[in-house]
């Protein structure tokens, strides 16, 4: 199988640019991920109590967090997870958008993601060193992180708030661990933070 043709970070940045050109500049967080998915990409977003019951979903792989039906252009998200954390909903949507842009053109399939696949704070070896399936999940997570926490916006807000982690997480509508990781990877965290 061919390797993905797009680099996740570059793809997320290109999508943000595209949205800004066609709609409006993103000057403050949160990034309007649902609008990007629906208005720009024509995706429909829906929720279900148990994604395993949906047509085409595997019933034997445990509970699912999100699912992309690329043919119908629908993103399904787990209602229970969304209720527990609105940030999780945004991350799952961004993750599925990542699959749509990075992997559907290459592998022509839909994606069913377990909670372990949709990871806001995933770290480890480079995606290229992982098995193919894990590689795609890692790339979708990287894409989601870049889309929800664009470097220019994080940089500006971090300096404006004195690197206030809970406030930044709140403004970007992501979890504190996800924001902490983002700041660390951008080398913006003060020592011992």
């Amino acid at each position: 199988m061919a390797a993905p043709t797009l680099e996740p970070v570059a793809a997320a940045q290109a999508l943000l640019r595209d949205f800004e050109e066609r709609y409006e500049p993103i000057e403050a967080p949160p990034v309007p991920v649902e609008r990007i998915a629906s208005a720009l990409l024509g995706l429909y977003i829906d929720e279900a109590d148990d994604l395993r019951t949906l047509p085409g979903a595997p019933a034997d792989q445990g509970r699912l967090s999100g699912m992309l039906d690329a043919e119908a252009m629908v993103i399904w998200v787990d209602r229970g997870e969304v209720r527990r954390s609105p940030g999780r909903r945004r991350f799952t949507i961004a993750h599925e958008v990542g699959h749509l842009l990075l992997h559907v053109p290459v592998v022509h399939e839909s994606f069913c993601d377990r909670p372990a696949d949709v990871q806001e704070i995933e770290e480890g070896p480079p995606a290229s060193e992982l098995p193919e399936l894990r590689q795609r999940e890692r790339e979708a997570n990287l894409f989601a992180r870049e889309l929800l926490m664009p470097e220019f916006l994080v940089n500006e807000q971090a300096r404006a708030t004195g690197f206030n982690l809970p406030a930044l997480a709140d403004r970007f509508e992501v979890s504190v661990p996800a924001m902490r990781l983002r700041l660390r990877l951008l080398k913006l965290l003060p020592p011992l933070a």
Partner: protein, 372 residues
């Protein structure tokens, strides 16, 4: 100017059911010991002041032993001419006004113990805005939002006992605990340092705001690798490495060992005993998770054998994750949480082990009655 930030000492906490030769709770003594060693370290650092950001005591009725330890250590600081400020946390703040705050006693011995309402304290160049816990969270948020640095002081420090939304906790939510939005820290952005208490793990939610964390790991949820006291150099820039230093103070080791898969392991007793050969278990509090285990298989574990194997630990317990076996066999032993619950409530003069065992027996009988 250097100050030291210390927090969440929980003097007087009793955990597990192990007692020393005099019948004193071992974990209670651990907490006294680690606090005393923290003050030893402070004396070596010679800071201008020590700030304690709340939950000095575990409850609002501290025992004579807990009060004695607190007063002794405060006296050591005073003898070394180190100013000490402590604010009331949610644990030690009584809900009713009719109950005297334990800090009223500390005050009588000359300590700057702040409770009930905020106070502004001044020690030479250092101004300290001390905001104690209030069970009225809106009131407390208002106090923090209204706090302003003292323009006359060279250094301004704010100390508060409050949780922040979204930060990782190391325990379940506590009654009366306040959790405010992170934006509240923007209102205290102009303070040189914000000493926070309540979270039991070290954290730095803002460049000028720090949770020192507790000195001891007081629950299984607390698996923070480093515990200690925070030294702050107020002359340094907050982004500089020199601004903050965490001085580690080693508490009692608390280890959750690698899980054993009960579904795949034939001889559980043997597998559990094998884990006892691991390093660093001397005097430790140890838990072994057993996944996918049936009630029958769990009940067949030889408790005497594993008790002997883990003899060098202070405490050993199993954490079963039961699978349905289809059998009506009762759960053979109460879970670890129940044992701890009962142990903490052993009436005076009653042997703790006898009390806990009796409780387990009743639970087993009840399970039999309902056919669990």
């Amino acid at each position: 100017m250097k100050i030291v930030h210390i927090s969440d000492t929980h003097l007087g906490v009793r955990e597990l059911h192990h007692t020393d030769a005099e019948g004193r709770n071992v974990r209670e003594l651990d907490v006294y010991d680690v606090f005393t060693r923290a003050i030893d370290r402070v004396l070596g650092l010679k800071p201008a002041a020590v700030l304690h950001s709340g939950d000095l005591f575990h409850g609002y009725h501290p025992s004579a032993a807990a009060l004695g330890v607190a007063l002794d250590q405060i006296e050591r600081l005073r003898a070394a001419e180190i100013d000490f400020v402590v604010i009331g946390g949610n644990h030690e703040t009584p809900r009713g006004r009719a109950i005297a705050h334990p800090f009223s006693l500390l005050e009588r011995f000359g300590a700057d113990a702040v409770y009930g309402e905020p106070r502004l304290l001044r020690f030479g160049d250092l101004s300290i805005t001390a905001i104690p816990h209030s069970h009225d969270h809106e009131e407390m948020a208002g106090w923090i939002a209204a706090a302003d640095p003292d323009p006359e002081a060279r250094f301004n420090v704010l100390v508060a006992h409050v949780g922040l939304e979204g930060l990782t906790k190391v325990g379940a939510g506590e009654p009366g605990a306040a959790e405010l939005p992170g934006e509240i820290l923007e209102s205290v952005a102009d303070f040189d340092y914000v000493a926070l208490g309540h979270l039991h793990q070290f954290d730095r939610p803002r460049v000028n705001a720090v949770y020192a964390g507790s000195l001891e790991r007081l629950s299984w949820a607390d698996h923070v690798p480093r515990k200690g006291i925070v030294e702050v150099d107020l002359d340094a820039e907050p982004m500089d490495k020199a601004f903050l230093r965490l001085h580690e103070i080693e508490g009692r080791s608390r280890k959750r060992l690698a899980a054993i898969d009960g579904g795949k392991t034939r001889d559980l007793t043997k597998s559990i005993c094998r884990l006892a050969k691991g390093k660093g278990l001397e005097g430790a509090i140890v838990r072994v998770p057993i996944a996918n285990v049936s009630f029958e298989k769990f009940g067949a574990i030889d408790r005497r054998k594993i008790g002997e194997a883990f003899e060098r630990c202070l405490h050993f317990e199993l954490e079963p994750d039961f699978v349905e076996s289809g059998s009506s066999a009762p759960q053979p032993a109460a879970p670890a949480e129940l044992r701890d619950f009962l142990a903490q409530r052993t009436p005076a003069g009653v042997d703790s082990e006898v009390f806990v065992t009796r409780g387990e027996t009743y639970m087993t009988r009840a399970a039999e009655d309902i056919g669990a």
